[in-house]
């Protein structure tokens, strides 16, 4: 670590020296800077000599004096001030240059990146949210998608794991699919890339957030339909920084900080746990709840477990360091623009023996070799190293506190009842590596002034592997007396070729017309392998060659391709009437020949009524628009060969290969796209010269022909078939606001967004309910957690309604639910009371009901930024309201199962004796009591929260000091992540919930504090 830093400092020093050697010839300029409308003088305005690092700021009265040491004829000065438009003025030999700055015309003059091009924000008729790079930079978080949490209306980010580089799911405008992928299409610098997890690494985290110029989230069909078959879940356009014309600018970002576990469970131990065991099992010694005798730790004071209480959080978790360093150099001339950057991100996991390292290298060149030709190339390389097992977290959190901590006693530390020790599991070496190179070249030729042809070709190579080593004697591994090594690899090669023809014309003074025509090809091939061996002689050598017995060796290849034709027309009349129409025709290898090609059209119109004459009186309204759009998009995120009916060859009989069909692969030649039609309408308003602006959108999104694994009769020899059945609707409303509340010496701006989405299943195959058994770490008899039912939101929780606990024996006896226990035993005091929905006196599967909805009623974020002199403060709060969480973690911890850790809250609130008015049933293992109902309303909780996600305080050095140091800019900051959370949710982290709303003992997010600096010179 020390060496890495030393090298970095040397590099910084060298670069600083290079940019110091400047020629001399001086000219002094003075002047005053004022507000163009009010005439007030403006203090602290930044003044920089174009193409240099020199500059100054205005004083408190708006005056400045600047000595231009390298004066030339064409020297000009750039004046910039927060909340105002920057202005560049030629000096032209003058010694006094006074400047009046216009207040910023806000977002409506911004350029927005759209599919295959850019557009003025004012001309956009679709629903697009832009997040600028500075909103997500300088935070000690590896995942880009994670940083979008709360930043954009309509975008819901859920972390499936808080581990470094862990899985994140990003859902735009509500989930609209059951059997296909829910992730949006990610397009990085124009290239649609694959982002699925490889070996537990989120491949999107290969992009350094500090390199990002902007992220555009395309939400409605009008914006996304140009990406056709892959756009149903929305499109995220990521644009990385490019070099700008001018002297080289070197940017250095460095930060380091500490993270810690943000929350812990209320596990019980010591005497309290002993009391609980006695309450449960009594003092009788022959209790063998699972056919195995328990340690007699609650009666025998000589037993090492007697009254022991180990705080496992102290054993498993640590305060971990997180650091980020990156340098970039960018600049350019008329003929060539460039930017090169290198970055290093190092995050130790808060869980011992886990962490993530990331190295990134980027180079982007833009060349103009001839007047009408532009050639560009872009190479992005990222290497990620991830250590540790995410699954351990689940095992750890349920470890009983009676187990002695390691080191205290020479014991294996195995689980009392269930074998396996998580601490032992951390000794399992797991190293995951992911290398990704995305390289692209494009050429662009202006055939005529208004006609441009562009062609690009890109390669996307991902090389990923996971190495695992089980050292000698690992508990929980059968047999324990051997070593084992495993190597899993995945090699993905993708290429894209895209060709576009772009035409622009004005058909008269008052109109603008542009058209785009394109053709693209994309293909991806994946080669994966798995090999494993065991029986090695030593823990020192951990590779397969040291394992004499090779137990597994297999490889697998697959691929997919997509061919697309697309076009777009934009027309604008009088800067008031706007029209956009797009169409894409996609052909995908994933569908049968009959349904291979499909068309995805869209159209939208806009009316900028603020430009109408009748609006001229309302001069406080600076911009007002109505947008309406409609279109169709598709989803093709299914198995590569699903329609064909796959037969596998990985089984054998007597060592000879055998071919059997995939039981889920009944061929379906009619298999086709999932298609989503979306209607969107929006109203955009800006007031007071754009100091205050609103964007509102309302949408109705209907997804038809859902890709569905439908069960088939088992006499066919198959289990399921992938079919197009069913329909889902998402309707919603989005609102965002940006406001410059104060400008001047103290400036204060606010941005706020909130989204309301209502998800509803319109139809299902045969109108029948589909029960979801999502393969979670359930320990109990029934695995159903959710339901898909017509008229209800997706993934609604499904189970038994808990009504309370029989307080007294008399109460239990009087209850007429005669067969309320599973094995027919009569009810006794302390048993749970379940709601008998059909009133037949029997509590069985017929009495399950919908218990909650995992989809939030609304969510959003609010950011406040303040600037005063050199100081800046940013406060970012995100929130979510009205979603239910199935707290499976608590479910397990209240199970009183020998295998589970126990919750203090549950113990304290359990029925213990006759007459107790208790919240939880009597203290008995569910599987023994016979009155258990796996998923009950007892564990469905409100997941609403509001969280101080980020607080950053920065200080930018004053201009004179920066000049003296020959810098362009220097800022120091302290930043905190996940500092405060207000919630009633009892799990560890209401943000780390699986997309289906289940909290399943996943790795929580950390809380962190980071110190950092940003230098430019």
């Amino acid at each position: 670590m020390i060496r890495k830093r030393t090298i970095l400092l040397v590099i910084i020093y060298l670069i600083a020296n290079v940019s110091n050697g400047l020629a001399q010839q001086s000219h002094e300029v003075t002047g005053t800077v004022t507000d163009a409308i009010t005439g007030e003088t403006l203090p602290a305005v930044n003044i920089v000599i174009e193409g240099s690092t020199q500059g100054t700021t205005t004083d408190i009265d708006g005056n400045y004096t600047l000595n231009i040491t390298t004066y030339r004829e064409d020297t000009s000065l750039t004046f910039s001030y927060i909340g105002y438009e920057s202005k560049t003025v030629m000096v032209e030999g003058r010694s006094r240059v006074d400047v009046a700055l216009e207040q910023a015309v806000g977002q409506f003059d911004d350029i927005v990146v759209i599919g295959y091009g850019t557009q003025r924000r004012a001309d956009v008729t679709g629903s697009i949210t832009s997040v600028s790079g500075d909103k997500i930079s300088n935070q000690s978080v590896a995942n880009l998608d994670n940083l979008l949490q709360g930043q954009a209306a309509g975008v819901q980010v859920q972390q499936n794991s808080g581990s470094p580089g862990g899985e994140v799911s990003l859902v735009i405008r509500g989930a609209s699919t059951v059997g296909a992928g829910k992730e949006p299409l990610y397009v990085v610098d124009g290239l649609p890339i694959s982002t699925e997890m490889l070996h537990g690494i989120n491949t999107l985290s290969s992009i350094n957030p500090n390199n990002i110029e902007s992220i555009e989230i395309l939400k409605d069909a009008s914006a996304t339909a140009i990406y056709g078959a892959r756009a149903s879940n929305g499109v995220v356009l990521i644009t990385t920084k490019s070099g700008q014309v001018g002297k080289p600018i070197v940017t250095v970002n460095a930060s380091t900080g500490y993270q810690e576990l943000s929350n812990t469970f209320d596990t019980i131990g010591g005497n309290e746990l002993r009391k609980r065991y006695i309450n449960q099992y009594g003092m009788a010694r022959d209790q063998e709840p699972y056919g195995q005798p328990l340690h007699w730790f609650w009666a025998d004071s000589t037993d090492i477990h007697f009254m022991n209480s180990t705080n496992w959080n102290d054993v498993y978790f640590r305060t971990a360091q997180v650091s980020n360093y990156d340098i970039s150099v960018g600049g350019g001339s008329e003929d060539l623009r460039y930017i090169a950057s290198v970055g290093y991100f190092d995050q130790d996991g808060i869980l011992i023996n886990s962490g993530l390292d990331r190295y990134t290298i980027n180079l982007k060149l833009d060349m103009f070799p001839f007047s009408s030709v532009r050639i560009g190339t872009d190479v992005k390389y990222a290497r990620m190293l991830k250590t540790g097992h995410e699954g351990i977290f689940w095992q750890m959190q349920r470890t009983q506190t009676v187990l002695p901590a390691p080191g205290e006693l020479d014991l294996p530390g195995g689980d009392l009842c269930c074998g396996g020790s998580p601490l032992e599991m951390t000794k399992m070496e797991s190293d995951r590596t992911n290398n990704r190179i995305i390289g692209s070249v494009f050429g662009e030729v202006n055939l005529r002034d208004n006609l441009t042809v562009r062609s690009n070709i890109a390669l996307d190579l991902v090389d990923s592997q996971e190495e695992i080593f089980w050292p000698f004697g690992l508990i929980g591994q059968v047999p324990t007396s051997t070593r084992r090594a495993r190597l899993v690899t995945a090699n993905r090669t993708g290429w894209i070729n895209e060709n576009t023809l772009d035409y622009r014309d004005n058909f008269g003074e008052n109109s603008m017309f542009s058209a785009l025509l394109g053709f693209s090809l994309q293909e991806e091939q994946m080669l994966s392998s798995f090999s494993q061996g065991e029986g090695g002689p030593t823990d020192a050598l951990r590779t397969l060659n040291a394992q004499p017995i090779q137990t597994h060796a297999t490889s697998f290849e697959e691929g997919w391709g997509i061919v697309s034709f697309f076009g777009r027309v934009n027309y604008e009349y009088q800067n008031k009437y706007l029209f956009t129409g797009t169409i894409r025709r996609d052909g995908s290898s994933r569908f049968g020949p009959e349904n291979r090609y499909a068309n995805f059209p869209s159209g939208s119109i806009g009316w900028r009524f603020s430009e109408e004459s009748f609006m001229q009186d309302f001069d406080f309204i600076s911009d007002a628009r109505i947008r309406v759009g409609y279109g169709i998009t598709g989803n093709q995120q299914i198995g590569n060969y699903a329609w064909q009916g796959v037969l596998t060859i990985d089984e054998s009989y007597k060592g000879s290969s055998a071919v059997v069909n995939d039981p889920d692969g009944l061929p379906n030649e009619d298999l086709s796209w999932e298609s989503t039609t979306q209607f969107n309408t929006g109203l955009d308003l800006s007031f007071f010269n754009d100091r205050l602006s609103f964007v509102t959108d309302y949408y109705i999104k209907r997804t038809n022909d859902l890709l569905f694994n439908q069960r088939v009769p088992d006499v066919t020899g198959y289990r399921s078939i992938l079919r197009n059945l069913g329909e889902i609707e998402n309707k919603g409303f989005e609102f965002s606001l940006t406001s410059l509340n104060l400008s001047g010496e103290i400036s204060w701006s606010t941005s706020f967004n909130i989204s309301f989405n209502r998800n509803k299943i319109i139809s299902l195959p045969g109108g029948e309910d589909i029960l979801l058994t999502p393969g979670i770490n359930q320990t109990r008899w029934d695995n159903v957690t959710g339901i898909l039912r017509e008229g209800e939101p997706m993934n609604s929780f499904f189970g038994y309604k808990f009504l309370g606990v029989f307080s007294t024996t008399q109460e239990a006896e009087e209850a007429d639910l005669r067969l309320s226990t599973m094995d027919g035993r009569p009810l006794i005091a302390g048993d749970a009371i379940w709601k008998d929905i059909n009133g037949d006196g029997v509590i069985n599967a017929e009495d399950r009901m919908i218990l909650g909805n995992p989809n939030p009623k609304f969510f959003g974020g609010i950011e406040n930024s303040f600037f005063y002199r050199g100081f800046d403060v940013k406060l970012f709060v995100n929130f979510q309201y009205g979603n239910d969480v199935l707290n499976n973690a608590y479910n397990i911890m209240s199970n009183r199962d020998c295998c589970s850790a126990s919750s203090m809250t549950v113990w304290e609130n359990s029925w213990k004796q006759e007459g107790d008015d208790a919240k939880y049933p009597r203290n008995e293992s569910f599987s023994v009591s016979g009155n258990d109902r796996t998923n009950s309303s007892l564990f469905v909780e409100d997941g609403s929260f509001i969280r101080l996600k980020n607080l950053t305080i920065g200080y930018t050095l004053p201009e004179e000091l920066i000049n003296r140091l020959s810098l362009r800019n220097a800022r120091f900051y302290i930043s905190g992540q996940n500092l405060l959370t207000i919630t009633n949710y009892r799990g560890l982290d209401p943000e780390v919930i699986r997309p289906d709303g289940i909290d399943d003992f996943t790795y929580p997010q950390f809380r962190s504090v980071t110190l950092g600096l940003n230098f430019e010179f």
Partner: protein, 482 residues
């Protein structure tokens, strides 16, 4: 006009690319490289061979997974598998005649998977260009496995759906039950194909003429055609392909496997990934990766011990007391009893493993006793007694190589000689003693309408149809009594 030329060239290149169908075709037609598809398979003789092996894999899975061959063939008798507290709930339920549509053994999904694969083979192999002799043999094997699968189905559920063609498309998949007589007709038909086309062979891991005849004999005995059963059993016994091991080598059946006695053994191998047996593990101590609790002191264990007398070479292969098994004590821990027929061997990694145990479907003593049983039904008791005594004599090691019993031995008088009790009862008990843990006893009771001795009568001799099968196939009806 130099720039103009550049423009033209680039435009032409792009236009060319647009129209170049080769690239487009390559991108959009993605054939699986590591898997076959229903369209690309069944083209070559190699496909026929590996597809056929797939049927064996499926059959092996059917009988192995959830210990189905024991659940269907033995557990309901409640006499052999420990069904006391703490064992697998399903064994307990089967032993106590508490069957319900949710239990694993009520599912026929694996059987129909095997049937569908057989149907695919029978439908496709005739179209493949290949050697006719091999084709006949492969088709014979497919007919055999389909017949065996349906035979399990009619014995377990009675009326079952009859499907003889490969499943295609998305319509017409809901198929109702057919009368069991029609299913039995198909079985007979399949078996005559199999017998005609299969050779005798030395490898009992595959379907052979002997295996097909063994199944035929069982089917005829099942439907009460005892003359045919006797004739076919006789053909097997006299074929010269099978002989009884000496009593002193009885253990070779399970320790060496694939012996001269074996007619059909589904092959498992602990050292080939995916070819290991799971069924044995459930009854093994935890240290061998087993369930750990299914065999211990219980009424069933006492019943089994009381079946045998000293000197019976089979005794050591019924129950194994592991306590004195040197080296194993440490691993075995608290549960030192194991089923004697399930042998643990060291695998390639030097670890003890039960995964190499074969499922013995048919072996010669089964056929000899089946013949004896049918002889009794035909009234030929003296011949039946001779066959019964042959099997007993072998167990007490007083049978010579020529099949002659040493009647001078005291063992003969004490243990082998027919004692004059009910002959059929004696034969059924002998079948239990010989074939215990091999999945026959319940079917023996069924065949002879003797299930009442274990307390099961009437409609309940059949299993219920599994709830999943009913839920996803509205054409089915639940079996009566459930």
């Amino acid at each position: 006009m130099k720039t103009f030329n550049v423009k033209v060239i680039i435009t032409i290149i792009i236009l060319f690319q647009l129209s170049s169908c080769d690239i487009v075709d390559n991108v959009i037609n993605q054939e699986p490289k590591s898997e076959f598809t229903s369209a690309s398979f069944w083209q070559t003789p190699d496909d026929a061979r590996s597809g056929l092996l797939g049927i064996y894999v499926s059959l092996r899975t059917t009988l192995n997974s959830q210990r189905a061959f024991l659940y269907w063939g033995e557990a309901r008798s409640g006499r052999t598998i420990d069904a006391s507290r703490g064992v697998v709930q399903e064994i307990n339920d089967l032993a106590n005649n508490r069957l319900d549509p949710a239990m694993s053994s009520a599912s026929w999904a694996n059987i129909y998977r095997t049937i569908n694969l057989s149907n695919e083979a029978l439908n496709n192999i005739p179209e493949i260009e290949m050697n006719e002799v091999e084709r006949s043999k492969l088709l014979g094997e497919a007919h055999f496995i389909r017949a065996l699968s349906y035979f399990y189905a009619v014995r377990v559920w009675g009326n079952v759906p009859l499907i003889t063609d490969p499943v295609r498309g998305t319509e017409g998949l809901e198929i109702p039950q057919t009368d069991k007589q029609e299913v039995l007709d198909l079985i007979e038909n399949d078996l005559s194909h199999a017998v005609a086309n299969l050779p005798y062979s030395t490898d009992p891991s595959f379907a052979t003429k002997g295996a097909a005849k063994a199944l035929q004999a069982h089917v005829f005995a099942w439907i009460g055609n005892h003359q045919q059963a006797v004739d076919i059993a006789g053909e097997i016994i006299n074929s010269g392909n099978y002989s009884l091991l000496p009593g002193s080598s009885y253990g070779d059946l399970f320790e060496v496997e694939n012996t001269v006695e074996a007619i059909l053994e589904l092959n498992f191998n602990a050292n080939i990934p995916g070819e290991g047996a799971g069924f044995a593990g459930q009854f093994a101590p935890a240290a061998l990766g087993g369930g750990g609790s299914a065999i211990r002191e219980s009424p069933q264990l006492d019943f089994m011990r009381n079946l045998f007398t000293e000197g019976d070479h089979r005794l050591n292969y019924i129950i194994r007391d592991m306590e004195n098994n040197s080296g194993w004590d440490v691993l075995i821990g608290d549960s030192p009893i194991m089923i004697g027929k399930y042998r643990d061997r060291l695998n390639d990694a030097g670890q003890p493993s039960l995964a190499g145990n074969n499922i013995i479907v048919y072996r010669l003593p089964d056929i000899i006793l089946l013949k004896a049983e049918s002889m009794v039904q035909l009234g030929n008791e003296s011949r039946a007694i001779q066959l019964l005594e042959t099997i007993r004599a072998r167990a007490y090691n007083i049978l010579d190589n020529n099949g002659n019993i040493d009647t001078s031995s005291t063992l003969y008088e004490e243990h082998v000689k027919f004692n004059g009790n009910n002959l059929l009862d004696e034969i059924i008990e002998e079948r239990l003693k010989e074939l215990i843990w091999e999945g026959h006893y319940w079917f023996d009771l069924r065949r002879n309408n003797m299930t009442n001795i274990v307390g099961v009568t009437g409609e309940q001799v059949y299993w219920p149809v599994h709830q999943d099968a009913l839920d996803f196939n509205s054409a089915l009806t639940q079996n009566p009594g459930y």
